[in-house]
């Protein structure tokens, strides 16, 4: 495998997470009383970071 797929997935979602979290923190746009950008940004960032972590771990063991 030339390219570990978890790398681009991790990168994309981590950047989405950082962008949305930052945007939600600077400019809270509440929907039904929830700052959706902030909360969902944190979720995306966590998912992206998890993917990157998995990719790094498997590279080390190889």
């Amino acid at each position: 495998m030339g390219l570990d797929l978890r790398l681009p997935i991790g990168l994309l979602f981590l950047s989405y997470g950082v962008i949305l979290t930052g945007y939600g923190a600077l400019k809270p746009l509440d929907v039904l009383g929830i700052n959706v950008n902030l909360i969902w940004g944190v979720v995306l960032a966590a998912f992206g970071a998890g993917m990157l972590l998995l990719a790094r771990r498997s590279r080390r063991t190889r």
Partner: protein, 551 residues
């Protein structure tokens, strides 16, 4: 819907990532097998998620939410009765022959198992259908974006076609598969907030139940008769037509999805591919159908989500309107990216499947056989350009001549309906012959067309003139399901009849292609929880439970 800078940034990042994947894979594309078959090197989980995503085009996402608003929970039959059992069947029972035969495509399997004419019939119809469907969905998506965002429809079509063209021409099937996995996660993360926010507004599941007619909240209760459920079809037509003929025909024989499993890195990975796909597939109704029902519930209670259209609603706007209601700048970018991703990878799936069938089954077999592999790699690359160009052409045809496209889709449905009978007999009855298979397919297709010509639907229009009306179905869906049942039966009976009258293939030519001439695949070396049969039973049990919960 207003798109701001941050939404464009999120969309743009996706475009960069997609092309980046293509560039990263560019160096690997040394021979035609790498380019067209992904070198048979894809791990099971990747192939599985791609298998699922290949079917999740934007039309599917928009259409399932629309059906949710139109038919309610009963739409889940397309998943819990239709897709899942067929996915389990193809993984557990059919993959040993597809993967074990080393065929490079589904039409090539037909060539190995039957004969040249059966392959030619399947390869030609598949190639034509693939590029046209890709064009039709391209047009649908362009029109939607133009309507929602005021974007230029020509720009939408051309830009997305160029991006898809670049990443496939660079990275071939591998690139398409990687982007499908990316798309899977984008769909999940891009649409999940709609479900949460929608349920929050409508007062949770109980609030939803209180706000839509009771028939919309049950999948089976009204299925006793066509008159008592929103689908307008009774349980037998649904179970046999959708659950058996159409779903098995699609998930078990359509090269678009089967190609993902054929690209897996081992027999066991190939068999696990559809089973891994079945797990998320089980829960997709909550992601794509429930937003539609919520949209209906809100609309019926004074929150106009669904726009009026004639005497009813424009159901196709369910998903986009829910997104417009709940997604502020930022999250909207993510939602639009998910839509665009499913649109582009749906197109990429069509183009890659077309590439392989054109290059191996048509060009190498009938036009220029016996060339070097480098030659076929170049042809594969050129086919990417040609396939994309024809798709764009088809999109413009759909824009100009809507009726021709509807007609084409009708004809495609005639061709697809009998397919599963051919594969079932081919894989599980050694006596089936090439002549039997070919004439079975022809008569099945004919039966589907004849059925359409002899029946009508209550209050429905028709694309073609009728020969006579022998039966009036309560809905288009009932007509479609019953047509499939007739087509399948005709193909099944004719294939058996002609096979018994023609000379069987010698046993030596059937190695690896038919049950009985193929040593069973052993999965004893695998941990028990990775064995296809165990996974299959588990998936079916979960699906049965879901059916009961939403009965």
């Amino acid at each position: 819907m207003h798109v701001s800078g941050i939404d464009i940034l999120i969309l743009g990042l996706y475009g960069v990532m997609v092309l980046g994947i293509g560039f990263a894979l560019r160096g690997r594309m040394q021979d035609s097998a790498e380019f067209l078959l992904a070198g048979r090197s894809i791990p099971a989980w990747t192939a599985g998620l791609a298998f699922l995503s290949a079917n999740l085009g934007a039309q599917e996402m928009i259409g399932m939410a629309a059906s949710g608003a139109k038919y309610g929970i009963a739409t889940s039959h397309f998943y819990w009765v239709g897709a899942i059992p067929a996915m389990v069947f193809v993984g557990v029972f059919m993959m040993p022959f597809y993967y074990g035969s080393r065929a490079r495509s589904v039409p090539e399997y037909l060539k190995l198992r039957f004969d040249e004419k059966t392959r030619a019939f399947n390869a030609l119809t598949f190639a034509v259908m693939t590029v046209f469907s890709s064009g039709i969905s391209m047009y649908a998506m362009g029109a939607l974006l133009a309507l929602l965002l005021g974007w230029n429809i020509h720009a939408c079509i051309i830009v997305s076609a160029v991006i898809v063209l670049c990443y496939i021409a660079l990275g071939g099937l591998t690139s398409a598969i990687y982007n499908e996995v990316l798309q899977f996660f984008l769909i999940v993360f891009g649409f999940a907030p709609i479900v949460y926010l929608g349920l929050r507004e409508i007062g949770g599941w109980d609030g939803l139940r209180a706000r839509v007619p009771p028939a919309y909240m049950h999948s089976w209760t009204g299925m006793g008769s066509a008159a008592t459920n929103p689908l307008g079809v009774e349980w037998f037509g649904m179970l046999m037509g959708l659950g058996f003929v159409l779903s098995f025909g699609y998930w078990c024989t359509d090269f678009l999805v089967v190609q993902r499993a054929m690209a897996a890195d081992s027999m066991n990975a190939a068999r696990r591919t559809p089973l891994i796909a079945a797990f998320p597939k089980m829960f997709f109704p909550f992601l794509v159908i429930v937003p539609g029902i919520i949209a209906l519930g809100l609309t019926m209670n004074g929150v106009p989500i669904l726009p009026q259209s004639g005497s009813g609603y424009d159901y196709n706007m369910a998903l986009p309107m829910m997104m417009a209601r709940y997604y502020p700048a930022g999250l909207l970018g993510l939602g639009l990216t998910a839509l665009l991703a499913s649109f582009m990878s749906g197109m990429a799936g069509n183009v890659t499947a077309f590439n392989t069938v054109w290059t191996y089954d048509l060009y190498q077999s009938y036009i220029r056989p016996g060339q070097t592999d480098g030659h076929y790699l170049r042809v594969g690359r050129l086919t990417t350009v040609a396939g994309t160009a024809i798709s764009v052409g088809a999109a413009y045809m759909a824009m100009r001549f809507n009726n021709i496209m509807d007609m084409l889709q009708l004809v495609f449905s005639f061709v697809n309906a009998p397919l599963f009978a051919t594969f079932l007999l081919g894989m599980f009855w050694r006596r089936t012959t090439g002549h039997g298979a070919f004439w079975g397919l022809v008569s099945g297709t004919g039966a589907a067309a004849l059925h359409y010509e002899l029946t009508a639907t209550a209050g429905g229009g028709s694309l073609l003139g009728k020969l006579a009306v022998l039966r009036v179905y309560p809905s288009d869906m009932a007509q479609n399901f019953w047509g499939a049942i007739w087509a399948w039966t005709a193909c099944f009976v004719v294939t058996i009849g002609v096979s018994l009258l023609t000379a069987p293939k010698p046993d030596a030519d059937l190695q690896g292609l038919v049950v009985g001439s193929t040593p069973p695949v052993s999965d004893r070396a695998l941990a028990w929880y990775l064995r296809p049969a165990v996974l299959g039973v588990f998936v079916l049990l979960c699906t049965a439970v879901l059916n009961v919960i939403f009965w």
